[in-house]
Symmetry: C2
Subunit: 701 residues, 2 copies
């Protein structure tokens, strides 16, 4: 535990400023929780008006303490917090937890107060959590630096689930749900207004803990892109799953988020893509978040995606097969010999997969044993799920059923096993002890198993993949960039463009066109004309020398008229590229994630269907392929109406090269548009027909 947050989560000595004798008050709860739980370190209640607080010797001030505490819990109102932070700084406290609201989220005065307090802390090397947060807890240390009522009725056991949340209430809620699901918590951190410690730092810390196997995270936005991505990459490298709830995906939700915290909203679509890129599961609902985290809590992941489904009721089998397919699992049929073995055992069964052993397997449990064994022995499945309904809670049936299953499963520990059942928690726990992931709802089970497969693949990529090398730093001009210059820059970055020749003003466009080969396209080249067609700066389908000469003259005349001040480099002559599928590639500067590469199919796909996808730069060609695979119109690149499949490899190379360029020059790039990029038939590469680079206004060095 080398992280800066180690002492915040595992302190030896704690001060509680504003400690209350009332165990129900905000200043009383942390003390009460730690006394009840038996915290092993020293607690210093700070309260100048009392001798003792909840039976513990009280101290008049932080200055009066016999030692500098690792953590000070500040349970005082906003207007008393600034002074308390200053006293923490003076006393050499390592970290302070600020509970109170009334800071940046409450308007300009609150923001000013928050800034002053943060500056004081930073100057003294004091770390701050909050303000407007519910604090932290660490069950294995019996340390409860929180006033959350979630601990009112029962503590939360130590366990494999790390929880980091910008919202205290949300963090408390998922801790509660984890407890209901029999899951313990490794560490719990709520970050509130994040004046200092933010979600990324908390995430990085929790991920490193040995007892953390999976992290449930909640955010409305993130502040520190690099730290956030580093934490996601580290989790992936460690093979630890992150299950994320990101809110603000709707317009009204984003508006509410903006008014709720100071976090930059950024684009939800980009955030979504970043989570996919780094192998994070984004949950759509809280129920899904806990369902997926539960599946990851064992830290076991399947080797592949083949699932065998065993049912004693046809309807449930069909339903689970539907759900498994939708979750990306392969409901692969049993091999012929295995089907024959099952048919011999059970003439009326469906032996394919789902295997429906009918109610007869309930009547004769030896049949259940034998047929499950057949499935596991011969099916080659990575995952196995059985549908049990209320059976495990039926008095006479529960024990024999468990024994029959245990017998069948023996020796197949490599297969991830799961079961649906609708039973009280105690009955489910018995199966969990036998290694089953237990769900009430089959759809939730299938969805969680699908997530396990994706995590498994993502961890494998992290093990085997290499980080893309950053692109070489190129000299970018200070001012606007012409199409020709943009292409020259991007060619250096490894992006291929069709051959083009610049005919300077006064040159012979006809001769050059003949050299290129007809038909050609003529385009004005000017750093000052970003949208060439709007000034009549493009003529396509030019068929001979004479037409080329007159078209060039006409272009220059129109530009002189419509863009009189523009510097004209000349006329670009390029071949007319035919065929291929039109796509759009671009780079945008996301307020949260910086340079982000965008990809979509051209025309109506982007305009009508908004069928685009993103990746934060840089990324390799493998990631680019996954990016390409995400668009709904993907099949178009495989060739439709008998067309040849497109050169997707070349497209992936382009996206990766562009991402490396964008990452290296993120400080200068406002946006890049390659529109259209024709993806030609396999083996013929790609043809980006246009290039536009828009630079950020240069800041003085």
């Amino acid at each position: 535990m080398s992280s800066a947050l180690a002492s915040l989560l595992s302190p030896r000595a704690i001060a509680i400023v504003g400690a209350s004798d009332s165990p129900a008050r905000i200043g009383g709860r942390p003390l009460r929780y730690m006394l009840e739980a038996g915290f092993g370190g020293t607690i210093y209640p700070v309260n100048p008006s009392r001798e003792t607080v909840q039976g513990v010797k009280a101290w008049p001030s932080l200055a009066a303490l016999p030692e500098a505490p690792d953590v000070a819990i500040l349970a005082v109102p906003a207007d008393a917090t600034e002074k308390a932070v200053a006293e923490c700084a003076a006393r050499g406290v390592k970290s302070a937890i600020v509970f109170s609201a009334g800071f940046a989220e409450a308007g300009d005065d609150g923001a000013a107060l928050q800034n002053r307090m943060t500056a004081t802390a930073r100057a003294a090397g004091l770390r701050l959590l909050g303000p407007n947060c519910l604090g932290v807890f660490n069950p294995s240390q019996r340390f409860y630096g929180t006033f959350s009522v979630v601990l009112d009725n029962a503590f939360i056991a130590p366990g494999p689930v790390g929880i980091v949340s910008q919202s205290g209430a949300y963090g408390a809620h998922v801790a509660h749900l984890a407890r209901n699901r029999g899951l313990g918590v490794s560490q719990w951190i709520t970050t509130g207004n994040e004046c200092d410690i933010d979600l990324a730092e908390a995430l990085a810390h929790v991920v490193e803990q040995d007892d953390t196997r999976v992290v449930m995270a909640y955010a409305e936005g993130v502040r520190n892109r690099d730290a956030f991505i580093a934490a996601l990459e580290r989790a992936r490298a460690l093979g630890k799953a992150i299950v994320f709830m990101k809110t603000g995906r709707s317009a009204v939700g984003a508006e509410a988020a903006a008014s709720h915290t100071a976090a930059l909203a950024g684009s939800d679509a980009v955030f979504d893509a970043v989570l996919r890129q780094f192998g994070v599961h984004r949950a759509r609902t809280t129920a899904e978040q806990i369902d997926v985290a539960y599946a990851c809590a064992s830290g076991r992941y399947p080797a592949g995606d083949r699932i065998g489904i065993f049912t004693m009721s046809g309807g449930f089998g069909i339903q689970l097969a539907d759900d498994a397919g939708e979750a990306g699992l392969d409901v692969a049929p049993m091999p012929e010999n295995a089907q024959a073995e099952l048919k011999a055992l059970l003439p009326y069964c469906s032996p394919r997969n789902p295997v429906d052993a009918t109610a007869q397997a309930v009547t004769e449990l030896s049949i259940l044993s034998k047929s499950v064994d057949s499935m596991l022995r011969l099916g080659g499945y990575d995952l196995f799920s059985i549908i049990l309904g209320t059976g495990p809670a039926t008095k006479t049936f529960a024990l024999p059923l468990r024994e029959a299953l245990a017998k069948a499963m023996a020796g197949h520990d490599d297969v991830i096993r799961a079961a649906t059942m609708s039973v009280p928690r105690e009955a489910a726990e018995i199966y969990e002890k036998d290694g089953f992931l237990v769900y009430e709802d089959g759809s939730a089970l299938a969805n969680a198993l699908g997530a396990l497969v994706r995590f498994s693949r993502s961890f494998e990529r992290a093990r085997t993949g290499t980080k893309p090398a950053p692109g070489e730093r190129l000299a970018l001009p200070a001012g606007p960039i012409s199409e020709r210059a943009a292409k020259d820059i991007l060619r250096q970055a490894g992006i291929p463009f069709p051959r083009e020749i610049l005919v300077p003003p006064g040159g012979d466009a006809g001769k050059t066109a003949a050299e290129i080969g007809f038909p050609v396209v003529l385009k004005v080249s000017s750093p000052d004309i970003a949208h060439k067609t709007e000034v009549g700066g493009v003529v396509v389908g030019v068929k001979d020398e004479a037409e080329a000469r007159s078209a060039a003259a006409a272009i220059l005349a129109r530009c002189a008229e419509k863009a009189p001040g523009a510097g004209i480099e000349g006329i670009l002559v390029a071949p007319m590229v035919k065929g291929g599928v039109e796509t759009i590639v671009g780079v945008v500067d996301d307020p949260t994630f910086g340079p982000v590469v965008m990809f979509g199919l051209g025309g109506i796909f982007v305009e009508v269907l908004k069928d685009v996808t993103f990746r934060v730069a840089p990324f390799d060609a493998g990631e680019a392929r996954r990016m390409i695979d995400e668009i709904r119109g993907r099949a178009l690149l495989d060739g439709v109406r008998g067309a040849t499949p497109c050169d997707v490899d070349a497209l992936a190379d382009l996206l990766s090269a562009l991402s490396r360029f964008a990452a290296t020059h993120g400080d200068r790039i406002e946006s890049i548009d390659l529109n259209p990029v024709l993806v030609l038939p396999q083996g013929q590469g790609i043809a980006p027909l246009d290039a536009l680079i828009v630079l950020k206004p240069e800041t003085s060095p």
Copy 2:
């Protein structure tokens, strides 16, 4: 209760054939359940080898009974069932429930057995439920004609939820979930192999019951299209919601369904569209099915879609706003005056919507009362949801919270009220008594409230709408239909086509083309050539008389060569229609639902994105508009890149007219293709450019 199933669900006298003294056996359970529950009618256990069964006088045979029972429960193996059915028929039993499996689902021998048994019953007017089913129950009559173990630990109370299911296990499972949710059941019918009584008849019966407010249904496919649709229409007319689980939506699921029952699978996409068309909610998961049914169980529906969200924690408010938006609810902002009122009350609150009263409203419950009252009084909301977390289960807080809320809600009974809370069932029930719909998960709540809005609109349409009149019966030829003939037929059905003139062989295509006006398109007209372009039978963009003459000659020459036997009516000359958006309209003969109209955008939208939608014929223009609104590329018809919006009204009229034609001629129509149909700018109508009608082989009358 005039339905044929009335005596099956509410019998006076019951025989149990194969009645067992063991209360755990299949033949023992129904008797045990009815004895324990106190069934009010007469029970005749039939068992020739015993004097009494479970303490009830036993009878040696059905023939020996003193009266003809309304219902006979046949708890005997498959091979004894045929005889038992014959005895039921002889004794004048009204309905028999056949539990045993081993019939049509088990292969050819089983199917033959099922057919013989069904014929015997039908001849005697005996109704059969099953075989391979779990029977029925009717809690208000304490009648339990089932051996389902779901009743083992507790009975299910009478209540508003009707359950009809092809799968016995699934039906039992949702009954169990309903009970866990505090919901009673009106009637419960499982139909199994459906040799006689099918899902449609069961649905129609359950919907008519006064105590049924909502129906949960499960099917893998339906057998009787007309009865099924009639039941859906009747439910809608009665304002009763149907929440449907249809399995077999994936390929592997559909395959499993086909091997599971004899039900025709049909197309899942068509089934899905039919459910939407008749206002049924199709649940994606069982959890969703119970969540939506729970919301409908009160029988109350919102007047509109505006939802007010009240939270004391920002994060949850954002999340619920996201979910509500996705569920189709309008998270409309509070009016300015209401926002001002809230700000005056609570300076730090977010007053827009979600209203975030912050934790201060927890500390001072009068603030909660006042601000909720402001929302309801001034917000104009149809639905209201509050986020309560674990509050309602906190000892000191629960009662004051409830009182504060009750005070705020008084006088606002017209608003559908809902709450999320994570509490034990008893605590939730208190809020249910206060009229709240209570959910643990906010996403589930939002989804269910969205369903309430859609049900409300659907019921309103049923009240105000008119059924489309069937199309007039037209004379269809016996053999193949040429393009020209197809268009003539469809013109009579009210579908407009661009003006076209047929030039008979030997006629002057040039002169006719000049009459139409250039440019024109020339097409061969032949009943024997369905795919004209494949034989070179189409020439487009013909610019003058000479070109028209030579094109006509070329077409005839090519057809003579490539389709030598084809009867040639001549050459169709039509104007080249420009502009508009290309769409595809068609009719398919679905194996389950018969004539179904298909609509999609042309080209890659259909080919790559499979972006098509369906409606069962006939339907009116309003339904056609909803159909059009369902496609993902819908925005294309609104005009993109500055284009004029398309004439969607004309398109809707075409779809409706085609549906009326298809419904009337469903016995003859195999398929119809109108491809492409150009949808022209608003006010300019539509232009179907081609028409192909394929007839079914005529059956002898």
